[in-house]
């Protein structure tokens, strides 16, 4: 599982920008919004995309889920429970790298 999470993390780090917003609260919201929606898409669950904000997370999530499915064939062999566990682990890892263990000293600046 750890190795698979590392592969997904590497994809996000090299191809995505949504995880690097400027403040801690932004990153928490972004990671939850995009990875939460991507998890639902991968598990064939409905995703809210009615409001503009939800839709913005949704478009990043759709592209992320498609890239994961195209690049990592082992994902197709996983059942829903395994996928949820995988994505939960990925979310924890992205939160760790971009927020809790981040060395970026501007994350807690209260102004934009």
């Amino acid at each position: 599982m750890k190795d698979r999470i590392a592969q997904l993390e590497d994809y996000i780090m090299k191809h995505c920008l949504w995880q690097f917003h400027s403040r801690t609260w932004d990153r928490e919201r972004q990671n939850e919004g995009v990875l939460g929606a991507a998890t639902k898409i991968l598990c064939d669950e409905p995703v809210a995309n009615e409001t503009r904000e939800d839709r913005c997370y949704w478009v990043d999530a759709v592209c992320l889920a498609e890239a994961f499915e195209n690049r990592y064939p082992w994902l197709h062999e996983m059942d829903t429970a395994e996928k949820k566990l995988l994505m939960q682990g990925l979310k924890e890892r992205i939160d760790y790298t971009t927020i809790t263990a981040s060395l970026n000293k501007e994350l807690t600046d209260h102004k934009y």
């Binding site: 920008l17 690097f20 904000e53 592209c63 060395l103 501007e106």
Partner: protein
């Protein structure tokens, strides 16, 4: 932390925390340099000041505006014309620059009266222009001239004009990035919401952090318009002052350079509920992903896919020709801020280049996070390098080319390293599919230039070959290629025009794409 200490900077120990090497197994939790701090005394920084960041980077690309600096003439002269952000009104904002030309007597007696005279004179000299941005400088800020009050006075006397006051003197921040911040916040606070947007499509975006360097904005607008999307405003390349006052009318902010413009996107989200979508306009795959995302947002993803398919079919064979010849070449990716992460991964993936170093002059740790995340292992990442450090890095890493600004670029040439202008470009645009091929062509021409090959010879000690005559880039680039690779019929060199921008500017688009199909959400 895998810090790197430059030999030339051992007398400035604080500098050690500003460079790291991303080693095996390193990630952002262990390898990130310090960033966006005051320049260390003794280190000759290459950064611009906060006035430069506000005026030169963000303010001046606005096209229908008199850009007047209240200060010594040198401030405005040194921030004039070196970034080629063209516009479709005959480059008014590039042709002319305005300054009050403060002298010592103004420092002693004040310069508000002179400022008012200058504003009126400038409007009279260009009666077709009714908008002005007024920039504070260190000199006028230190004597306490109230430029806001003067602007207000003029607007009361001349109700047909509108003036934006940018209070970002050079000392207001560690680098030009401080000026980016100030002008972003001032614009949304003072100007956004003061003009009603003219909506012409069911799909409306602001294109933010895009400065139309050599036509980047024109090439990206083409894709948006082919999808039926109205670009309500561009912040700020080729942007119109009044369009930018109406930014609040968009459905989505599409953000390119987060370093210079994320502030206004964040505020537009908080104040007007307009979400922010970060995109990459550089590189085939990142651009395709970006267009797909914008299409998906509006439910018109099939239009995006059509553009992706057409453009990829047209330009991919040309990109592949250059990739074949650029594989394994070493690059120091040393731009100002955002291009270190826009380009770090995609020039490796799509052109085969190896990025051996990234640096940022004025970026924040956030930019380094993005850049280091996208680099391969072994990359040297430097924050705010001084000239000696840059030279030491080039001598150690031996890059085949560097992408940087014109000042460090000229230094590189002196030690026989070719450079490409990462800020103003050589033969842009570089965005879009065609632009990306033009970038590859410029890299190829820089690395394999016959003149550059000659410059590697030192006439004071090297033997000068007299049996070799005329040479071309291909004689150098194809020497090491297999016959099959050199003659691949599926690949070709760039076949676009010398100046590709007018064709994009003169295109027309069907109006029916601007309306949602019946039954669509």
């Amino acid at each position: 932390m895998p810090h790197h200490e430059f030999e030339c900077s051992t007398t400035i120990p604080e500098r050690k925390k500003h460079a790291v090497i991303k080693g095996a197994g390193e990630d952002l939790t262990s390898a990130l340099p310090e960033g966006y701090l005051n320049t260390i005394p003794g280190s000759i920084s290459e950064r611009g000041c906060a006035y430069c960041g506000a005026k030169h980077v963000i303010g001046t690309p606005m096209k229908d505006v008199i850009h007047l600096s209240h200060g010594p003439v040198g401030c405005t002269y040194d921030t004039w014309q070196t970034k080629r952000y063209i516009s479709d009104n005959e480059n008014f904002q590039l042709k002319y620059t305005f300054a009050t030309d403060m002298k010592e007597k103004n420092i002693v007696f004040g310069a508000e009266k002179m400022l008012k005279q200058n504003i009126i004179e400038a409007f009279k000299a260009f009666p077709q222009i009714k908008r002005m941005t007024l920039y504070q400088t260190c000199a006028s800020a230190l004597i306490g001239d109230d430029i806001g009050a003067v602007a207000q006075e003029v607007m009361e006397e001349m109700p047909e004009v509108d003036i934006f006051v940018c209070n970002s003197p050079g000392f207001k921040g560690p680098s030009q990035s401080g000026g980016h911040h100030t002008i972003n916040i001032a614009w949304i606070k003072d100007k956004v919401g003061t003009v009603e947007p003219k909506i012409t499509s069911d799909y409306v975006i602001n294109y933010v952090g895009e400065y139309n360097i050599q036509g980047d904005e024109e090439i990206m607008h083409d894709y948006f318009k082919r999808m039926g999307i109205q670009v309500l405003s561009t912040f700020t390349g080729n942007g119109s002052y009044d369009d930018l006052r109406a930014m609040h009318g968009a459905h989505l902010n599409v953000l390119e350079c987060a370093r210079s413009a994320e502030y206004i996107c964040n505020e537009l989200r908080v104040r007007y509920g307009i979400p922010r979508l970060d995109i990459d306009g550089f590189g085939f795959e990142p651009l395709s992903d970006s267009l797909r995302k914008v299409g998906l947002f509006f439910g018109i993803e099939e239009r995006a896919q059509k553009i992706i398919d057409e453009e990829t079919a047209r330009w991919k064979p040309e990109l592949e020709w250059y990739k074949e010849r650029l594989k394994g070449k070493k690059v120091c990716l040393w731009p100002g801020g955002s291009k270190l992460w826009h380009w770090a991964h995609v020039i490796h993936e799509e052109m085969g280049l190896d990025v051996v170093s990234v640096y940022t002059k004025f970026g924040h740790q956030q930019d380094m996070e993005k850049g280091i995340a996208r680099c391969e292992e072994g990359t040297l990442a430097i924050d705010d390098p001084n000239e000696l450090e840059s030279v030491e890095a080039m001598l150690r890493l031996k890059p085949d080319v560097i992408f940087t600004g014109k000042r460090p670029g000229e230094v590189a040439k002196k030690i026989r390293v070719p450079y490409l202008n990462a800020h103003a470009y050589h033969n842009g645009p570089y965005k879009g599919y065609e632009g990306w091929v033009r970038f590859a062509r410029d890299i190829y021409n820089a690395i394999y230039s016959p003149i550059h090959q000659l410059s590697l010879l030192d006439i004071s000690k090297d033997e000068i070959p007299t049996d070799k005559g005329f040479a071309t880039q291909m004689m150098f680039s194809d020497a090491a290629l297999s016959e099959e690779a050199a003659s691949a019929s599926t690949q070709r060199q760039y076949t676009g025009k010398y100046d590709c921008v007018p064709d994009y500017m003169n295109k027309t688009y069907p109006d029916e794409l601007k309306k949602k199909p019946v039954g669509a959400h």
